[in-house]
Amino acid sequence: MMELRSKGKPLSFTQPIIGRITYGLAAESSILIDHSLDNTDVSDGYLAVLTKRSVTTHLSPIIHSIPSIQPLSEGDVIMMLPNGIIQTLFRVNSLDNTLFTTDRCNSNCLMCSQPPKDIDDIEYYYNVNHQVISLIPSTTEIIGITGGEPTLLGKRFFDMISHINRKLPATTIHILTNGRSFAWKNFTTRFESVNSSNLVLGIPLYSDYYLDHDYIVQASHAFNQTVLGLHNLASIGARIELRVVLHKLTFKRLPELAKFIFLNLPFVEQVAFMGLEYTGYTPHNDKLLWIDPLEYADELDIAVTYLNNNGINVSIYNHPLCLLPKPMWRFSVKSISDWKRHFLPKCDSCLVKADCGGIFATSRKVSLNINPQ
C-alpha cells in the first residue's frame, strides 16, 4: 500500500488508534498535533496526541519524538500503531483517497503493482475502514475502494458499501475489482441492494480472447467470469469503467478488444487505457511485459479511434504525451492518482508538461524515447 507514513515513539496505548487530525479544536475522535507541547497533559477532549517533542509520560495515547512528520491537514484521518508508526488513511485535500480492503486476490496478474498475499486480513481491514468511513467529511467528493480483490470480502463488501452510502451519501465510490464474483447472479443481486448512481466499478479487461486474458491475470476462467459479471452488472444498471493496461501481452489485439467492447459491452461508461506501472510483479516479468510505448502506438490509435467513433468514452491514463501519436493527445488524462504522476528532469523543458500524464512515480523503468515537445 502506497501511503505516507511517519514514525515516532508510542506511549500509553497497545491497540491501533484511528482518528481525525486537529491542530486545536477538540472533537470526537480527534488526534491533536502539537509540537510546542511540554510535559503537561493536553489529552483533555482528544483521543490521542502527536508531537515532535519528546515526552516521558502521558495519560492518553501519544506518539512523540517524531523526527519528521508528513504534512497533515485538519481533518485528515490517520492510524497510530502501537509500534509508533503513523499511517495516513485519508487526506481531506486529495481526490485520491482509497480504502484498502484486503491483500487477498483470486487473480494474480503478471503486472500487478501490488502483489496479493494469501492471508485472511478481511476483518482487520474492514474494522479499520469502518472507522475511517465514520470519520471522513460528508463533503468528500470521491473515495476509492481497492485491494487485492474487494469482492472477496463477501458480506463485508456489501456492509462496507452500505456504511459508505449511509455516512457519505453524496460521495462517489470507485471500486477496483476484477468483476469475476459478479458472474454469479446472487452476488450481483446482493450488490444491487447497495448499488447507487454514485458507485462506479473499475474492471480490467485485457483481451477479447479468453486465454490471453486468463494468462495475463493468471487465472483460468477469469475472462468468461468477468464478461458474465459485466453483463450481470449491466442488467442492474451498474456504472462500469473498463481498464486496459498497455503492455507487450495486450497491445497486439487492442483493435479486436475495442471491437469486442463496443459489440458486447456497449453499456460501459468509459474505457481507460493505462500505461504500465513498472513496479510490483512487473520488473520480475519484464521480458514478458515491457514494450516501448512507441511500439504500440498504431494499435492504440486504432482502438481509441474505433471506440470514440462509436460513441464510447475513451481515456488514456498515466501515459507520457510524447509517446502517444498526436491525434491521441486529446484522450490523454493526466492521472488517476496525482501522487503517482512523476516526471524526468528533461521534462522541465517540455511545453506540454502541464497536460502530460507523466510516468508512474513508482516505475523503476521508463522509455528511452521520452522527449520534450
Binding site: N108, Y215, E256, F260, Y306
Partner: protein, 498 residues
C-alpha cells in the same frame, strides 16, 4: 457440480502453454452463415450479426476443423462467437442478451401511425398511383368520425413512443383535419402520457403562416418531397401554374425560418429519369442544406407491377445509381461535408453495431402491422403505405378492415396474422440460409405485389436482389477500403444528419 472454490493454488506464474493445454483440444461450432463477397473473399456472419471478412473457403475450413489453434483467426473466431472451446459457450448469456438486443423491435408494438387525411392533391405526378387532382372535392377527405376512431386505436398501442404521420394526397389541403387530429391527440395524451412526434408529408407548396405557426406550436416536423434539381423535380412532379421546384425550395426556406433548420427533411422519389443523375440529385440536396438523402428504388407499385423483367432491369439500374451515389457521398465526406445516405446507414447500423434500427422494410418478423399502420381517407386500415397503393388498383389483400372495427379485429385478426406469418425471413426459403438475414428483412407486400405470393421466391425477388447486392457491396467496401470508409460509416450511424 464442480466445487467452485479451488484449494490447489500457488502464486507461481504459469506460462501461456499451461493455459492452452488446460483448454479443450477441439472446438465446437456456433451458428453462423457465410456469403461470398468477391472472388477471393467471403464474409462470416453469426447469429447476432457480428461479422468477419476472411478468405474464400474459410467457412469450409472451420467446419472441417482445419483452423490452427495458435492462429489469429482462431482467436477471432472464438472472440466473435463463431466457434466455442466448449460445447455450450460459457458466454451463452451474453450471446442471448445480444440476440435479444438485435430483435428489440419485437418488444414494442405499432409506433408509426399514418393518417391519410385526404387524397386530394395540387400536383399530378406521373408516378403517383393514389392521389386525385381535383383539389376541391372533399369526398376524398377523411371524416372526423374515422379520425377519432383511428386516434383511439392508436392510443391502444402498447408502444410508449408514437409517431403520427399525416399523408395525402397533399395533407395540407385538408389542414382542418390535421389540426383537429393533433389537437385531439394532445388532449387525449394528457391522460396517456406517451412520447408523441408528428410529421406532415407535404410537397411544401401551400405552406402558409397559419400552418407554420401551428407546426411550431406542436413541434411538428415537415417531410417534403424533393426529387433533385429543377429539371428532374419538375419533370417528375407536374403542376399547373408555377413550377413545383421553385415552390418547394421556397417552402423549405420558409419552413426552416419558421421552425428551425432541422425541422425539415426531404424525401426523394426515384424515377427512370432520376436514375441517370445520382450526383446531380445528391449535390442538389447538399446545396439545399440537407445532411442526408434516402436513395430509394423505383416503386414497383405501378401498373407494370407484375412485369418481372422490367422490375429486374430497373433494380439493376437502381443498384448502379445507388453505388455511384454512395461513392459520390463518400467523396463529399472526404472533402469535409458531413452527408449520409439513409438506407446505407440503417443497414450499417445492423452490421457495425450491436443495436438495430426499426426500419419497416428491413425487419424480421416484418414491421408491417407491428410497427406501422395506415388509416386511409375512407376509413379503411392498411398494413403499410404500399398496401393502400395496391388497394387503389382494387387489390385489398392487405386491407386489415375498417377503422370502426375493434382493435383486436384489426391488429390481431386473421389478415394481420397472415401477413406476420409470411413475414418471418428466418422461415423463408432462401433467406433462412442467407448470411445477410440479420441485416435484411421480409416484405410480404412487395413480394405479393410482384410475385402474387407473400413469401415470394428469393431468386426472382427484386427485394432480395437489391438487398443482397447492397449488403455485399458494403462488406466489400469495409474489406478493401477499411480506414476512411469505415470511420465515415461509423459517423453516419452515430451522428444525426445536420
Amino acid at each position: 457440480m464442480k466445487n467452485i472454490i479451488s484449494n490447489t493454488y500457488s502464486r507461481k506464474f504459469r506460462g501461456i502453454s499451461t493455459f492452452e493445454s488446460e483448454a479443450e483440444s477441439i472446438y465446437f461450432l456456433l451458428p453462423f452463415k457465410f456469403h461470398s463477397i468477391s472472388i477471393d473473399r467471403e464474409v462470416l456472419v453469426n447469429e447476432i450479426g457480428d461479422y468477419l471478412i476472411v478468405p474464400q473457403g474459410t467457412a469450409k475450413a472451420i467446419v472441417h476443423r482445419e483452423i490452427d489453434f495458435s492462429s489469429n483467426l482462431y482467436r477471432d473466431l472464438v472472440a466473435n462467437f463463431f466457434i466455442s472451446p466448449t460445447p455450450v459457450p460459457e458466454l451463452l448469456n451474453v450471446i442471448s442478451t445480444r440476440y435479444r438486443t438485435k430483435k428489440k423491435s419485437l418488444g414494442s408494438f405499432t409506433s408509426l401511425h399514418i393518417f391519410v387525411v385526404t387524397l386530394r392533391c395540387n400536383h399530378s405526378c406521373h408516378y403517383c398511383q393514389v392521389s386525385r387532382a381535383a383539389e376541391s372535392k372533399s369526398e376524398f377527405d377523411i371524416s372526423y368520425k374515422d379520425l377519432d376512431a383511428g386516434i383511439n386505436h392508436m392510443f391502444l398501442s402498447p408502444s410508449e413512443e408514437l409517431t403520427v404521420e399525416f399523408q395525402g394526397g397533399e395533407p395540407l389541403l385538408a389542414f382542418d383535419k390535421v389540426r383537429y387530429a393533433v389537437e385531439r391527440i394532445q388532449l387525449l395524451n394528457e391522460d396517456f402520457k406517451k412520447e408523441i412526434s408528428y410529421v406532415i408529408c407535404t410537397n411544401s407548396t401551400i405552406l402558409n403562416d397559419e400552418i407554420l405557426l401551428f407546426c411550431k406550436n406542436y413541434n411538428i416536423l415537415i417531410s417534403t418531397s424533393l426529387d433533385g434539381p429543377a429539371f428532374i423535380h419538375n419533370a417528375n412532379r407536374f403542376k399547373s401554374g408555377r413550377a413545383s421546384y421553385d415552390l418547394v425550395i421556397e417552402g423549405i426556406d420558409r419552413t426552416r425560418q419558421a421552425l428551425g433548420h432541422d425541422k425539415v427533411s426531404a424525401l426523394m422519389t426515384t424515377t427512370a429519369l432520376s436514375l441517370k443523375y445520382p450526383k446531380e440529385i445528391i449535390d442538389n440536396y447538399v446545396e439545399n442544406g440537407f445532411g442526408n438523402i434516402f436513395l430509394r428504388p423505383i416503386s414497383p407499385y405501378g401498373f407494370a407491377l407484375k412485369n418481372q423483367k422490367k422490375n429486374h432491369y430497373q433494380t439493376a439500374e437502381f443498384l448502379d445509381f445507388y453505388k455511384q451515389g454512395l461513392e459520390h457521398i463518400l467523396n463529399l465526406n472526404a472533402q469535409g461535408v458531413f452527408f449520409k445516405e439513409d438506407y446505407t446507414s440503417i443497414i450499417l447500423q445492423k452490421i457495425l453495431t450491436p443495436f438495430t434500427e426499426n426500419y419497416v422494410d428491413l425487419q424480421s418478423p416484418t414491421g408491417l402491422v407491428s410497427s406501422v399502420i395506415v388509416f386511409n381517407y375512407d376509413g379503411f386500415v392498411y398494413a403499410s403505405d404500399e398496401s393502400r397503393m395496391l388497394a387503389e388498383i382494387k387489390d385489398y389483400t392487405f386491407q386489415l378492415g375498417h377503422v370502426t372495427q375493434p382493435y383486436e379485429e384489426l391488429f390481431l385478426g386473421d389478415k394481420a396474422k397472415q401477413i406476420l406469418n409470411n413475414g418471418v425471413a428466418e422461415c423463408l426459403a432462401g433467406c433462412s440460409d442467407c448470411a445477410f438475414l440479420t441485416y435484411c428483412g421480409a416484405d410480404p407486400v412487395l413480394h405479393y405485389a410482384t410475385q402474387n405470393d407473400m413469401q415470394g421466391h428469393r431468386a426472382f425477388s427484386i427485394f432480395c436482389k437489391k438487398n443482397m447486392e447492397i449488403i455485399r457491396y458494403l462488406f466489400e467496401m469495409l474489406d478493401i477500403r477499411k480506414g476512411y470508409v469505415e470511420s465515415t460509416f461509423q459517423s453516419w450511424i452515430h451522428k444525426p444528419a445536420a
